[in-house]
């Protein structure tokens, strides 16, 4: 068996109630390595273009990487890959916790789900045995309760569960897949696709392990990697402050001083009350203890308890930087306890917290402008900064009540339905709501948002840090930004493929040493560095096949026509000329043509002639 891999892919057809095991092809493994590399190729191969994301024909893939479940530090990621109901294009999310390792211990590198169950079910994987279990008794329940009931049903607290909440059952397009209660493969709409398939959860128990081709060498490399990670000051920053900083590192305060902290639906990049919601206040008022994922020395998770006020007694893991911003400043909310409560609601209802905050902020602006009335909200006074209104709206979205039924479609479709000026301030790219960074705050990041295969996501490239702190770069210039984005995207994509958390990274040489010992392949840093570029080209090809092109690599009108209203980035916009210049440069670097379509020679260089053929068979001309 190939070291580093479980060696099998499990196919599940929910309509036919059929399971099939496929032996992992070592050539496929070498070419795409794992995680969302596997997911991207399997989705491209198994899904016909033009399929509605909520159709039973859509495909949902859970994929682990070679590092998942090993003793590499932070080797715990898995990807959920599907056709996104938010964008109609490629979608994925990466989750931490323990679910990914457990899937591999059970013997599977990936799980491919098709079809639709005729009644609510969950997939139960108990080592070699896999079957469908009735889920009518957990349908309608929140994520927390569903997790508990499944563990009780199996009389085993160590069963690892990836579940969806009521939001997914109601086909809220930004519903997340949640594993281990608080970890999310959030952004691509995978939860909503699970809901559309009547699939409440995937529950796994595995008693196997992951074998290395050269065990002694791999243990040595993994130990060195652990030491390097532990010694990195970023590790201590994450342990002490989580994702939102507050001490040894950049933090929410720094982002305000840079003017990139989204406030009131991205009108501004500066929140005047940021000190009420940043790390020090969180630590003093809410923190119980740090919580780590599998094999992780960072422990960036925060266990928190609300000790005072109307939400007293609420336990939550989080909030983290993204939710504190999207449910906090972006909605004008400056109450740390209320944000923690709203975060907990998002976890239990099963939302992607980024999209949920973005959608509520959008609705608050609609309300302010009179585009949504009190009658439509069912009586909620949807005012900026009102946490009670925010939480009431989150519930209405999850259950599709009143205006919640429209907002459940995500900001793009909701804005089209609401009409008027709403599309001008619907803050998304390709339909995916933007995350907790102001797109006008740095041009490289603007490019990264515009070209992301997912849509409005920072999962691919996050370049603010280097753009702002590298004295050779000017964040408001287009110079050298395409290359910066390409390199940063490569650096952040490879961990997703290897099943490795992207906080506090190692060098490409370190990854190559680990992969060589794990798999027995003679694999170099150079070879590894081509794989993220290949996968990015493949997901581009997927989107091109679905009708996407250069026209879709664009930012929302607010970012291109309205200047930031105040703070350090006041007056900034991203012009069409600037974006066009960077797109030309980026496409060239990636080996794509002027319309952003991968060139034939590029696809062939990556060994994807089959992808080229599938595109041409659909009438797409390759240059």
């Amino acid at each position: 068996m190939l070291g580093g891999y479980a060696g099998k892919i499990l196919h599940v057809d929910l309509s036919k109630r059929m399971f099939k095991k496929e032996i992992l092809d070592p050539k496929f493994a070498r070419a795409f390595l794992g995680g969302r590399g596997f997911g991207a190729k399997l989705l491209f191969d198994h899904l016909e273009p033009g399929v509605d994301p909520f159709s039973p024909d859509n495909v949902l893939i859970f994929a682990t990487g070679p590092f998942t479940g090993t003793n590499m530090p932070k080797g715990q990621r898995y990807s959920v890959v599907t056709k996104s109901p938010l964008t109609g294009g490629y979608g994925d999310g990466e989750g931490g916790g323990h679910f990914g390792p457990e899937l591999k211990f059970a013997g599977y590198d990936a799980l491919i789900v098709k079809g639709k169950a005729d009644k609510p079910v969950y997939i139960w994987i108990d080592d070699e045995t896999a079957r469908l279990e009735d889920a009518t008794h957990i349908w309608g329940r929140g994520v927390f309760e569903a997790d508990k009931i499944i563990k009780d049903d199996k009389a085993d607290k160590l069963v690892r569960v990836a579940a969806v909440g009521p939001a997914a059952e109601k086909l809220v397009r930004f519903a997340a897949v949640t594993n281990d209660l608080y970890r999310h493969a959030a952004r691509g709409g995978g939860g909503a696709v699970m809901g559309s398939k009547n699939l409440k959860a995937v529950a796994v128990r595995g008693f196997g392990g992951v074998e290395a081709a050269n065990t002694d060498e791999f243990n040595k490399v993994a130990e060195e990697a652990m030491k390097k990670t532990y010694d990195n000051p970023g590790r201590k920053g994450m342990y002490d402050w989580g994702t939102w900083g507050g001490g040894g590192g950049w933090d929410l305060k720094q982002y305000n001083l840079w003017g990139i902290h989204p406030t009131r639906n991205y009108r501004s990049g500066y929140f005047e009350n940021y000190e009420k919601i940043y790390g020090k206040n969180f630590r003093d008022r809410l923190l119980l203890k740090q919580r780590a994922c599998f094999a992780c020395p960072l422990a960036c998770g925060r266990h928190a308890l609300i000790r005072d006020g109307p939400y007293k007694g609420t336990f939550v893991e989080g909030p983290e930087y993204e939710t504190i911003t999207m449910l906090g400043s972006d909605c004008g909310v400056d109450n740390i306890e209320a944000i923690a409560k709203a975060h907990q609601m998002c976890d239990d209802l099963g939302f992607d917290g980024i999209s949920a905050g973005n959608v509520v902020a959008f609705a608050m602006e609609c309300y302010e402008k009179g585009l949504i009335t009190k009658e439509q909200t069912g009586g909620i006074e949807l005012k900026w900064g009102d946490p009670e209104a925010q939480m009431a709206l989150l519930k209405k979205i999850a259950y599709r009540e009143d205006i919640g039924d429209v907002l459940a479609e995500g900001v793009k479709i909701a804005a089209e339905k609401i009409g008027g000026s709403a599309p001008d301030f619907a803050m998304h790219v390709k339909g995916l709501p933007l995350p907790a960074y102001e797109p006008r705050g740095a041009l490289g990041q603007a490019l990264a948002f515009a070209i992301s295969d997912l849509g409005g996501s920072h999962d691919r490239a996050w370049t603010y840090g280097e753009e702002i702190t590298n004295p050779k770069l000017d964040r408001f210039s287009t110079d050298a930004k395409a290359e910066l984005v390409k390199n940063n995207m490569r650096m952040r994509t490879l961990p997703d493929i290897l099943g490795y958390c992207r906080f506090v990274l190692l060098s490409y040489d370190d990854y190559a040493k680990a992969m060589a010992a794990l798999t027995g392949w003679n694999i170099t840093a150079e070879e590894l560095m081509t794989v993220p570029d290949k996968v990015t080209t493949l997901t581009r090809a997927f989107n091109v096949r679905e009708g996407f092109g250069r026209k879709d690599d664009i930012l929302p009108p607010r970012a291109m026509k309205e200047p930031v209203v105040d703070g350090p980035t006041k007056g900034r916009m991203v012009t069409k000329e600037e974006l066009d210049k960077m797109l030309d440069e980026y496409y060239l670097l990636m080996g794509w043509d002027k319309d952003g379509i991968p060139k034939r020679e590029t696809l062939e260089k990556y060994g994807m002639t089959d992808v080229a053929e599938k595109l041409t068979s659909r009438g797409i001309l390759l240059s």
């Binding site: 000051p233 590192g249 960074y437 603010y464 840090g465 952040r492 506090v504």
Partner: protein, 95 residues
């Protein structure tokens, strides 16, 4: 003389092309003295990461001495100890 272990991360590692090195300094040297010595080795690009052109401290790089964060503006003249571990770090955000 005293020996200081210096470790580089992220942007600054790309500039110096090293993960770590040992640096010899005269007894009683400070963090500013260390930066001056390293500037001789790595040039103006290195200096520009730490200081603005007018000499003000630029808050681009985080510094740790023996595990504790140090502020160059406030602690730059504090003496380093023989065997100290100094880390230059640029956090990577984007969670």
């Amino acid at each position: 003389m005293m020996n200081i272990k210096v470790q580089y991360y992220a942007l600054i590692r790309e500039l110096v092309q090293k993960e770590e090195e040992g640096v010899e300094l005269v007894e009683g040297s400070s963090l500013r003295d260390l930066l001056e010595q390293l500037t001789k080795e790595y040039g103006a690009d290195f200096r520009d990461l730490f200081f603005e052109r007018d000499g003000d401290v630029a808050h681009r790089i985080l510094m740790f001495a023996d595990g504790a964060e140090v502020d160059l503006a406030k602690d730059g003249n504090r003496r380093l100890k023989n065997g100290s571990n100094v880390q230059f770090f640029q956090p990577v955000g984007g969670g």
